[in-house]
Amino acid sequence: MSDSASILGAALNHDSAIKHTTGEALYIDDIPEPRGTLHLVPGYANAVCGQLRSVDLSAVESATNVVAVLRADDVPGTLDISPTHAGDDPLLAKDRIRYFGEPVFAVVARGYQDARRASRLAKIDIDSQDPILTVENALNAQSFVSESRQIQRNDWQGAIKQAPHRLRGTTVSGSQDHFYLEGQVSLAIPQEDGGVHIYASTQHPSEIQHAAAQVLGLPDHTVTVEVRRMGGGFGGKESQAAQWAVLAALAATKTGQPVKCRLDRDLDMIMTGKRHDFHSDWEVGYDPDGRIAGVDIHMASRCGCSHDLSDPVNDRAMFHADNAYFYPAVRIRSDRCQTNTVSNTAFRGFGGPQGMLIAEQIIQAIAHERRLDPLDVRRLNFYEHNDRNLTPYHMQVEDFVLDELVEQLESTSRYRERRKSIKAFNSTNPYLRRGLALTPVKFGISFTNTPLNQAGALLHVYKDGSVLLNHGGTEMGQGLLIKVAQVVAAELQIDIDQVQISSTHTGKVPNTSATAASSGTDLNGMAAQNAARTIRRRLTAFAATHYDVAENEIEFQHGQVRIADSSMTFSELVLEAYLHRVQLSATGFYRTPKIWWDAETARGRPFYYFAYGAAVSEVVVDLLTGENRVVAVDILHDVGNSLNPAVDAGQIEGGFIQGMGWLTTEEVWWDGDGRLMTHAPSTYKIPVCSDRPAHFRLDMYTGSENIEATVYRSKAVGEPPLMLALSVHQAIADALSSTSDHGELPQLRAPATPEAVLDAIQSLRPS
C-alpha cells in the first residue's frame, strides 16, 4: 500500500476493488436473509390516468404463499413520501392513477417469485381520463407541477431587437433512464419499540429514515437506515429509492418479519423517474462576428406526475443555459410541466446538461449562419476576466479557465488540421459524412438549495491505533469512500490500511444530505478532515503536556509521531492517550461558505465554484440510414488538485460515455397511450464496449488548483464530465450540415438515433 506521505493524489484502488472482482462485495440482495424474510412486490393497474373505481385484490390475497397485501389505507402515519414534502407522492395510489405503472398495492409473500406472480392477479377498474403525456400537451393544457420561473438581466428585448442578426431555434432533448446495474432494493428488519432497521440501496439514507418514520407515524429515531454500497445510483436513488424502502418498512412492521423489496428490471424502469426531457425555444441577437448581444430562452420540461426534485432540476437547467458564455442581456423562462408519466427525478447533471445543450445549439446555429467555425464563436462569447463575467443569475465567474484549457485542447487534438481533413473526406464520400466539434463545460458546484450544503463525519480511533471512519456520504461506485479515507489518512499521517471504511448509517451521522450534486467529496471530505484534525489536536495537546514539550515540536509523519527529539508510532501515542483518558472519538462538521440564493429576486451565489472541461468529438454518419458512430474523443478536464487521479479519470470517462448514451442510443419511448415500452436492456440501449470510441484520450488540466478552499483544493468530478459529451451531438449536427455546406444547421434532436438523424437531414431538404 502507498506511503502515507503521498497518499493525497495517489491513484489508489477503489475501496472494494478486490471484493468487486471476487464477488465478495455484498449488495442488499446478497446479504444473507434473516429468518422468515418475506418478499414484497408492488402491483399496478393496466391504466394510465383516472379515478380508481374498484380494486379487487382477492386473487392476489389467495395466491400461493401470500402473507399480506398492503394498500394506501394501511398506512398508519402520513401517506406522502415526497422528498420536498409537496404532498403529491403517495406511497401507494389511494384514489387515482396518475401514470402507467403507479403502484396501487403491494403484495408480501414467502418467496420472491410467489410475490411477483401474485402481483399480476389484481383486477383494477378505473374511470379513464385522457392523459397529458408530452410537454406540448402540458403547455396547451397549462398543466404545471409548480410555478414557472424566470431569471433575467438587462434589456434582453432591446438587445435582440437592435442586434444586426437574429436567429430563432428549438432545442429538444430526450429523457434517460439511469440503468444502474443494481435495481432498486431494500431490506427492512423490524426492531424493538416498533421501529425498523432498513438496508437500502440509496443515495439518501436520512430521507428514507424520515419518510419511513412519517409513514409509520413514529419519530425519526426509531428508524435506522444503512447502506454499504450501491450498484450504481446516478441520481436514480436520490429521492426515488424511498418508496421501496418505506414499503418494505411498512410491511415489516405489519407482519413482524423481515421484508425485502427488490424491483425487477421492468418494474424498476416503469416505476421510477428518469432524466427530464426538455423542449426549449430560443431567440438570439448577435453581431456579424457572432458575438451575442441578447438571448431569450423559454424552456419547458416534462416533470411527470409530481414535484419530486423537478424544481431544483429546472433551476439548475436555467443556471446552465449560459454554459460558458456571457449573455450581455438575457431572459430565461422555465415551465415545469405536469404530465401523466412517472415523476422525473435527479440524473447526473440534474438539468445542467439540458440547459447547456441549448447554449451550445445557439452557438452552433450562429456559427453556421455566419459560416464561421463554431469554435471561434464559442471563444468569442466565453466569459472574461473583466465586466463580461456576470451570469444571468448575477453571480460573478471568478475562476474561469476555459480560455487556456480550450487553447491547449485545440492544439493537442489537432482540431484545425482535422477540420480540413474532414472537409476533404466529406467532399468525396457519397453517403458517409464526418463531423467534428469542440465543446466546453462550466458546471456550478453546490446544492442550489443552500441548507443541503452541510455534512457530518464520525471518527473513532481504537486503542491499537486503528481508525474507523464514518460519514454521511454514500458509495455508489464513484470512489467517495476511498477519497475521504485518503483525506483522513493524510491528516493523521497513517497508512490507508489503518483506516477502516464503514457503511453509511443514520445512527452514526444524522441529518445527512443526499450524496448528490457532485458534492460528496467536497462536503464529507471536509467533515472527515475536521474530525481527524480534532483527534490530531487532542493527541498533540496530550503529548505536549504529557512529554512536556511545545506543541510545535510535535509532528505527525509516516505513521510516526515526532515529539521533540524522540519519536513513537501513531499507535503507541494513541494507547498512551487512552491510558490518560483522552477522548479518541470525534465528530466533524462542514458547511460550504459564501453561497446564498434568493429565489424571489433570482439573484445570488448558488455555487461555491465552477468545474471546467472541454472535449473534442469526431463522428461518422451514414446519410442513407442515419447510423452514426463516435470515432475519436479528446478530453481535457479540470479537477483542481486531484485527490485520486484513478478515481477521477474513472468519473470523467464514465461520465462522458453516459452522456454520449443520452445523446445517441438511449431512447426512452412511450406508446401513444402513455405506456413506457423501453423498460429493459433489450429495448433500452446504453453504450456497450464497442461504443467506446477507438481513439479516446483523456488529460487532466494541470496548473489549476481550486481558487476556493475546498478539501486540498480539489474539484468535484461526479457530474461535470457527463456534459463533455455535448460535443458528440454537436459533431453529428456538424456532419449533417456538411450536406448544405455548413450554411444551415439541421434540427437534430437528442438522442441522435438513426431515425433522428434522417429526420434532421429531412429538415435541411424541404420536400
Binding site: 461506485g477 442513407l624 470515432v631 464514465g654 419511448w669 456497450v688
Partner: protein, 498 residues
C-alpha cells in the same frame, strides 16, 4: 427408452453435485444465489442482456473440455446436466485469477455490480486466447465482440478493455490443468453411463432425450404440448419476464444429431441445436455479411447458448437470422415420429407467433445451398451496433446474367409481422439492368410491399425510408462493390488519422 436419471448432475466449481428439481423451470441463477448461496453472480436484467450473471459452462467434447459463457439468469438448471459450472467464486485460489487482478490493476470496477460478469467474460476470453503455450493478445475488435454482452454503466469501458488485454497476456492459473483433468474424468464417467435425464416433479417434467427417436417418443407421449428447449435465450424470458410456469420441458441440447454441421457438395445442413457461435464460421464462409450479422446477433453469451433452430422455431418477429437465410434460399427440415418433411424457410412463418409446426414436430435442421447466388448482401439497422434488435434488416441476393437481374430474393425483417420477401420489389427488378430507373422503380415497389408498424425501435416512416435506402445501398454494392458502413469506418483499424 434408455436408462434414465431423475436428478440433475453437474460439477459446480470442482464439486460434483446431484440436485432434485422442484420446478423444471428453475434457472441456474436462482439456484446459484438462493440454494448454493453463491451471490457473486448478479441479476441485472433477468433477460440475458446485461451479463451481470455471466458464468462459464464447460462441456466434454472429444474428451476435452470446451468452455462457453452463458447468462445464468435465463439458463435452466436442467440444461447444465453433465457439465461443469464455474462462477466468480471459483476463479481465485491462493492468488487472484489473472482476470480479477487485471480488473484491479486497471481500475476496472466502480460500483462493482457488473464486475463479476466482466471477470467471467474476460476469463473466457483468456481461455480462448490460450493455445498450448502460445499466448495471443486480442485486438480491440475481438475484445469488443467478446464483451458486448456485459453492460457497465460506470466506467465507460476503457479500463475494462485494458484489463482484458492484460489478462490475456497472463498464463492460466496454476490450479487450472489439475482441475481440468479432474473434471474431465468426472464428466467422462458420466458420459459413459449414457443415461437420459428425466426429472419428474410435482410441478412438471424436465427431460433431455439423447436421440431424435427418443425425442419423437416424448413428443407423442405427452398429454399437454411440451415446450422444446434449446438454448433458452428466448424461452428463459418466458419464465423470468412473463412469469410463465412451463410444465413440460424437453431439452434438445443432448441430442447429438441435432448438433451436427454437415457440409455436402451441394448443401450445408446445420442442425437445429447448433449454437449460433458454432454456426458462425460456416455461415461466414458463405458470406462475410452474414458473418457480420452473426457478430451483431445478441452477444457472446447469447450466441453461445442460442441456436439456429431456436431463432427460427419460435417465430419471433425479431429473429435476425431468417431474413438472411431466406434470401440465401434456405429450407427447413422438420422432424416428427413418422419421419421428416422439408419446406422452404419463407413458408414456415405464417403470421405473428404462428409457424408451420405441429405439436408433435420439431425443427431438425436448416439447409442452405453450398454455393448460394453470388450477389448476396445484407444489412441490419438498429439503434446500437452490438446486441440490439433490428428496426429493419434487409437481405438481398440475385444472379446477373449478361448484366440482367435474375432470380432476385429480397427479404426483410422488421417490416411485417414475420420475415417476408419483397415480392413486388423482386418482380420490379427481374430481367432488368442495374440502373437508376430500375432502382427507382424497385424502391417504389418496395413501398407497396410493406406496411410496417411504428414501435419503440422506429416509426413506420423511418422503416420505409431506410428499407428503400438499403436497396439503394445494395445497388451500390452490385455496381461499385465497396459499400462501407459507419462501423467499418470507425473500427480501430480504420481509424488512424487522429
Amino acid at each position: 427408452m434408455q436408462p434414465s436419471r431423475n436428478k440433475v448432475r453437474f460439477v459446480l466449481g470442482s464439486t460434483p453435485l446431484e440436485i432434485s428439481l422442484d420446478d423444471p423451470g428453475l434457472t441456474l441463477l436462482d439456484y446459484l444465489r438462493n440454494q448454493a448461496c453463491l451471490t457473486g453472480t448478479k441479476e441485472g436484467c433477468a433477460e440475458g442482456d446485461c451479463g451481470a450473471c455471466t458464468v462459464l459452462i464447460a462441456e466434454l467434447y472429444d474428451n476435452s473440455l470446451k468452455y462457453t459463457v452463458a447468462n445464468a439468469c435465463i439458463l435452466l438448471l436442467g440444461m447444465v446436466d453433465g457439465k461443469q459450472v464455474l462462477t466468480v467464486e471459483h476463479l481465485a485460489s491462493d492468488t487472484l485469477h489473472p482476470a480479477q487482478q487485471a480488473m484491479i490493476d486497471h481500475h476496472g470496477s466502480q460500483c462493482g455490480f457488473c464486475t463479476p460478469g466482466f471477470v467471467m467474460s474476460i476469463a473466457a476470453l483468456q481461455l480462448d486466447e490460450h493455445h498450448g503455450d502460445s499466448i495471443q493478445t486480442p485486438g480491440r475488435d475481438q475484445i469488443d465482440q467478446h464483451l458486448a454482452g456485459n453492460l457497465c454503466r460506470c466506467t465507460g469501458y476503457g479500463p475494462i478493455i485494458d484489463a482484458a488485454r492484460q489478462a490475456c497476456t497472463q498464463p492460466l492459473p496454476d490450479y487450472w490443468p489439475h482441475q481440468q483433468t479432474a473434471v474431465q474424468s468426472i464428466l467422462g464417467q458420466w458420459q459413459k453411463q449414457d443415461e437420459t435425464l428425466h426429472v419428474e416433479c410435482e410441478s412438471g417434467l424436465f427431460a433431455a432425450p439423447r436421440t431424435e427417436a427418443e425425442l419423437a417418443t416424448y413428443l407423442s407421449d405427452q398429454h399437454s404440448p411440451p415446450t422444446l428447449l434449446a438454448g433458452a435465450t428466448d424461452i428463459g424470458l418466458w419464465i423470468t419476464k412473463q412469469g410463465r410456469q412451463l410444465t413440460t420441458l424437453l431439452y434438445l441440447g443432448q441430442i447429438s444429431s441435432l448438433k451436427t454441421v454437415n457440409r455436402q457438395e451441394d448443401e450445408l445442413e446445420i442442425g437445429a441445436a447448433v449454437s449460433l457461435q458454432r454456426a458462425a464460421p460456416e455461415l461466414t464462409r458463405l458470406s462475410p455479411d452474414l458473418g457480420l450479422l452473426l457478430r451483431r446477433f445478441g452477444a457472446r453469451q447469447v450466441r453461445s447458448q442460442g441456436t439456429i433452430g431456436g431463432n427460427i422455431a419460435n417465430g419471433s418477429p425479431i429473429g435476425d437470422l431468417p431474413p438472411a437465410l431466406i434470401a440465401l434460399g434456405a429450407t427447413l427440415r422438420i422432424g416428427c415420429a413418422n419421419g421428416q418433411r422439408e419446406i422452404p424457410l419463407e413458408d414456415f412463418f405464417i403470421d405473428y407467433g404462428q409457424q408451420d409446426l405441429a405439436d408433435n414436430e420439431y425443427v431438425a435442421s436448416v439447409v442452405l445451398p453450398a454455393r448460394p447466388q453470388p450477389h448476396f448482401w445484407c444489412s441490419k439497422i438498429a439503434k446500437r451496433f452490438d446486441q440490439d434488435i433490428s428496426a429493419v434488416l434487409g437481405a438481398f441476393s440475385l444472379t446477373l446474367v449478361d448484366g440482367f437481374v435474375h432470380n432476385a430474393r429480397f427479404c426483410f425483417g422488421g417490416m411485417a409481422t414475420t420475415p417476408r420477401r419483397a415480392r413486388r420489389c423482386e418482380a420490379a427488378v427481374e430481367g432488368r439492368r442495374l440502373d437508376e430507373d430500375t432502382l427507382a422503380e424497385a424502391q417504389n415497389a418496395l413501398l407497396q410491399d410493406f406496411d410496417p408498424i411504428a414501435d419503440l425501435r422506429a416509426s413506420a416512416r423511418y422503416r420505409r425510408t431506410v428499407a428503400a435506402n438499403l436497396l439503394d445501398k445494395y445497388f451500390r454494392f452490385l455496381t461499385v462493390t465497396d459499400v462501407p458502413s459507419v462501423y467499418e469506418f470507425s473500427s480501430p483499424q480504420a481509424f488512424t488519422h487522429v
